[in-house]
């Protein structure tokens, strides 16, 4: 983790409570380097938006310090923080035209008229909507409003931009496109971005690092790859991507290998946060790491019955019954040699022990 010297935004032991009884944010620590894209990901009510609002200055931290560029900002009014912000429903001022919306932060900063005109024009060119300058927000489509909101947060060249579920109101296709666009803007402008979302795909595509929130606590702060490949606990494994979980008990434990008994079957697994035999554990296996009729070097192979086949185009979602567990999902890629299986078939499924992570038992929260 970075030190104060090279961190641009720093949350230090921040706690927040609204009613003096329940902590919505518990002991939150986060360092964001300049130019980094960090996402706070979590289910609704997990405290991620509260953290964003504390950084923007709309909520005060009950305890702890927040620094921007080395300066504590706890007592700094929101308008003095120089943070660009994109809101969930864009918050474009409905009574002003697009050009007036974009020039608002510049007028507040008392820029000259010609400067304002030039910057507004450049911002509209950046989002490729030069023709909407004279229109009102209500006359634009959702995607266009989204882009204008983005431009408004960037037009006064802030070093830090906060985004609060900015793509939540868009349809799927547009959302994916905007994800790439925001990512490219971030790379081109070199700004620091703190992004809040509950959509894991969004978080995985865009971020340098992701902080996974649950119940006011950061469960894991890591790069997308690490988060997906090496979830630190069962909540993260369950929340990020699709996941098969099997509850069992540790029988034997070694350094990089343990044996877990699930419904009488012994499963070879990678110990992550189990420490002694006899401990209860949850095994986590990604559906795409499981093969039907597995190759020879797979050290886990079990009999299963095919319960359901769902065609997804690029893959076949196959639900099988395994170890008395009927929600076990296998993703069978729709490759050049498709698999011939039908509902009711008895098959063998298998996976590598390093793809099967033995995590903490408390998987109930997800």
């Amino acid at each position: 983790m970075s030190t104060l010297d090279n961190s641009y935004v720093r949350f230090q032991n921040v706690r927040k409570t609204y009613d003096g009884e329940i902590l919505v944010v518990k002991d939150f620590n986060l360092d964001i380097a300049q130019g980094e894209f960090v996402t706070m990901l979590g289910p609704s009510g997990s405290g991620k938006t509260t953290c964003l609002m504390m950084l923007a200055g709309f909520e005060s931290a009950t305890q702890g310090e927040i620094y921007i560029d080395g300066t504590p900002v706890n007592n700094l009014a929101p308008h003095k923080r120089d943070i660009g912000m994109v809101f969930q429903n864009y918050a474009l001022f409905p009574h002003l035209t697009i050009a007036e919306n974009l020039s608002f932060p510049l007028k507040v900063r008392k820029l000259s008229k010609s400067d304002i005109e030039q910057k507004v024009k450049r911002a509209l060119d950046m989002i490729e909507l030069p023709q909407v300058a004279g229109r009102r927000p209500g006359q634009l489509s959702g995607g266009q409003q989204q882009r204008v909101a983005l431009a408004r947060a960037l037009v006064f060249e802030p070093k830090l931009v906060l985004m609060d579920e900015p793509l939540g109101a868009l349809d799927k296709q547009l959302r994916e496109q905007m994800q790439y666009e925001i990512k490219h803007l971030h790379e081109r402008l070199g700004i620091t971005v703190l992004y809040v979302t509950h959509d894991q795909t969004e978080a995985l595509t865009m971020s340098d690092r992701i902080a996974v929130f649950n119940q006011g606590v950061v469960q894991q702060l890591a790069s997308p790859t690490e988060l997906y490949e090496q979830p630190a606990n069962s909540f993260v494994a369950q929340f990020i991507g699709e996941n098969n979980k099997l509850s069992g008990k540790v029988e034997k434990i070694g350094n990089d290998r343990c044996v877990v008994s699930v419904e009488g079957c012994n499963v070879q697994a990678l110990p992550v946060n189990v420490y002694q035999s006899g401990e209860a554990t949850t095994l986590s296996i990604r559906p795409e790491r499981i093969q039907i009729n597995p190759e020879n070097d797979f050290d886990n192979r079990f009999d299963a019955r095919v319960l359901e086949l769902i065609y997804h185009g690029d893959h076949m979602r196959t639900r099988v019954e395994l170890m008395n567990h009927d929600q076990f999902i296998v993703k069978v890629p729709n490759g050049s040699r498709p698999l011939e299986i039908r509902k009711g078939d008895l098959v063998q499924v298998g996976w590598l022990s390093r793809d099967c992570r033995a995590l903490d038992a408390s998987s109930g929260q997800a």
Partner: protein
Amino acid sequence: MKYEAITTSTLVEPPLDIDARKRLKQQLRQAERWNRSKAFLLVVPLLLFVGITFVMPIIEMLHRSVYDPLVADSLPRTVAALKQWDRQQLPEEAIYAVLAEELVSLQEQHELSKVAGRLNSEYSGMRSLLSKSARRLSRKDTITRLIDTGSVRTAMIDIDQRWSDIAPWAAIKNLSSRYTLSYYLAALDMRYDENGEISAQPEQRQIYKTLLLKTFAISALITALCLILGYPLAHLLATLPESRSNLLMIMVLLPFWTSLLVRTTSWIVLLQTEGVINDVLIHLGLISERLRMIHNMFGTVIAMTHILLPFMVLPLYSVMKNISPSYMRAARSLGAKPGYAFIHIYLPQTLPGIGAGAILTFILSIGFYITPALVGGRSGQMISNFIAYHMQTSLNWGLAAALGGILLAMVLLLYSVYNRLVGINNLKVG
């Protein structure tokens, strides 16, 4: 273009030709006819009710404000005879004779006082002049003798010197047509003068113009006070969590559940010279002499502001409720100070509410009657109190109707100005 995939993904159908569109519209009309007539039938009772109890009285009132048949009906021959009169010199002997005869017959039928009263409002002194003359002329045989000798004019001038003036005759002639603007002129401190021209009332008889202006000024003041008091309250209501705003809302609405009369009377209790507020102020030593806070304009303004406040708060609240707090946050995050953000972002978005609340409060207050009547004293009277006075005391219904007509015209004018400026569709009342 990067976005082409999204923007051109919808297929564009060729537009329909004119015939097809006409047919389509006709089909739509037929399909909707039944629904529309059903909806209409449902509102028929209300329509009848409103028509009978609201629209017809207004039409009747407006009719009454211009219809004045009394003089023409009571003195038909005099009126006919005066048609040729040029207002330059005294009428001929024959006209005096006709009037004398009609006066006598009115006196005998006990119908004189009504017409004398009406003429008196046109030319003061007419009442006494007419009754005096009629009394003298109806003495036994007087009238026949005078007509026979052709000396009615001399006799009447003998009875009263004023008959040698053209003013009484001008008054009769001015009121001789059944449809007249004289009520409206009176309501605007004007009259027909002796030459039948429109001219201003003498200074000491002018009251309505100042009264109208005063009514407008008081209403504007009350509207402004309601806005100043109601705006922060509505904002508080709109931003508080539901559980607490509900309680506050009940307190705002509470006055609606109390009789207007009770509320006004309680203001008398509070504000009177021996009242609670004066007692407290004297007790605290803030004043040495008791303040006069009621039965004057101050009392009217205070009590009416209190009564009309909810009419300002409710439209403001309904507009503010729909303004997302993220607008202010966005403005702040973009660098605006709280005051700047309020004036440039919040205030403009509440304009429909301000407009609705202001127009509602203003219209209600220019027609307000009970409160000024009870707490207004002399100086706190408004136009509606004079309308009531002419309805109930002076029985000059025509003038009351004309004042009402002017009030109605003012409200409609205000409404159309508002419509032109803001658009009536932007009006949000709850």
